[in-house]
Symmetry: C2
Subunit: 220 residues, 2 copies
DNA sequence: AATATTTTTTAGTTGAGTCTAAAAAATAAA
DNA sequence: TTTATTTTTTAGACTCAACTAAAAAATATT
């Protein structure tokens, strides 16, 4: 069965909202990310349920069926591979590729994606450190931790970001933070939960809790 | 003003039908290439005329305005650059890229297209020998001739094709014809206008008039 | 437990792009 | 030049994916 542009976006967004927990997703949550109204979401959820891609009971929220998850992972795979292409081959910065990849992710051609994967030498992660689902529909778990959960004294390496909006990424640029940055947590400040961190051995800088929540690290 | 997927397709097709002459294009001709019905075309032509992209008087046919031509050339440029990418970088054959490029041509990002152009080292033609419009909206005239117009005795080189359907290109593959093939016209057969041609100095083979019409050459 | 608030769904519209069937105009044939 | 044929347009309807406004259900508050 074939998927429209709109359907693919809904499945992708439901997938994003489902990551890391089992709870059903609310209509409003979907509406916010699709940039539509709740009423429109209700219509689409009924349609997706009819096609067997989601489990949906009215007033009870929604979750992906195995088939829906497979489609969503396919879209995410394409999105992330295209992002690698845009950064590695086209020379874009990591904060410039999201919107273009949002378009490219809907290009339909299995053989193209396999060839692209090979051309990029089978990358495991995208330019934001996010894992690239395999062509069999498996999302690798890289086991990264949130910087906001690090205790004082910990040393870690910046491996990814949990948000790829341009404003957030540009802020990281300004703070000299990028994939691979060595982080040494000096102190967690009780007042605002901001963190004092030394970045690549420079004198410590402050990172707000809001930012730290969206930084993924592994212990060094 | 922004262009929808459908509008871009219509402009591109009107451009294709207009190449090489001044006459207005008929509603039916557009309907055939867009794979829609004449009634749908009439609606769209009125809409495109309102936006100033075509000149259209009912019952009189349609032609592109300067603005419409600019948009069409932008689409053609993207289509052909992506085709070069698919063949040169992804390893597709020339008969496999049309459908994928039909999707990629609608990706909207000026900076992406400029970077792609640079990445491909500013190609002048696509994998079918068609000229790539410049970013200023100029379609280079390569001055190729049709093989069907060659007289007996002429030597020429295959530079392009006037049709990029997979079945046609696959036939050329079977006949050992590709860009760069050296052609020596032995004889034009009066009965069916087929041509006896030696390809790369091999013993002469027959090429039907229908095929010869769609082969573009330059004199050797 | 009753009431107020928030969330979600229903009902009815809208616009884009398509369709079919019928009418009108242009073109070709007698 | 009249008639027949083909082409094009109009009129009305359909699907998809969105919308607003109002009703219904779920959740929170008193």
């Amino acid at each position: 069965m074939s998927t429209s542009f709109a359907e693919e976006n809904y499945l992708k967004i439901i997938y994003r909202l489902s990551e890391g927990h089992e709870d059903d997703i609310s209509t409003n949550a979907v509406a916010e990310l699709t940039q539509t109204k709740a009423a429109s979401v209700t219509d689409m959820l009924r349609k997706l349920a009819e096609k067997g891609w989601v489990h949906y009971q009215k007033y009870q929220g929604v979750r992906l069926s195995p088939e829906g998850e497979k489609i969503a992972l396919g879209i995410v795979r394409k999105h992330r591979l295209w992002e690698v292409f845009l950064v590695e081959k086209m020379g874009f910065n990591w904060d410039e590729v999201h919107e273009i990849a949002e378009q490219l992710e809907h290009i339909e051609s299995d053989s193209l994606i396999e060839k692209l994967d090979a051309f990029l030498e089978y990358p495991k992660t995208d330019p934001h450190g996010d894992p690239i689902p395999t062509k069999n529909g498996v999302m690798p778990d890289l086991g990264y931790l949130h910087l906001s959960d690090m205790k004082a004294g910990k040393r870690c390496v910046l491996m990814g970001v949990a948000k790829d909006s341009a404003v957030f990424l540009q802020l990281l640029n300004k703070m000299q933070l990028s994939l691979g940055s060595a982080l040494h947590v000096q102190e967690v400040n009780a007042f605002d939960r901001s963190i004092s961190v030394s970045i690549d051995n420079a004198p410590a800088a402050f990172i707000s809790h809001e930012v730290a929540k969206n930084i993924l690290v592994k212990l060094a």
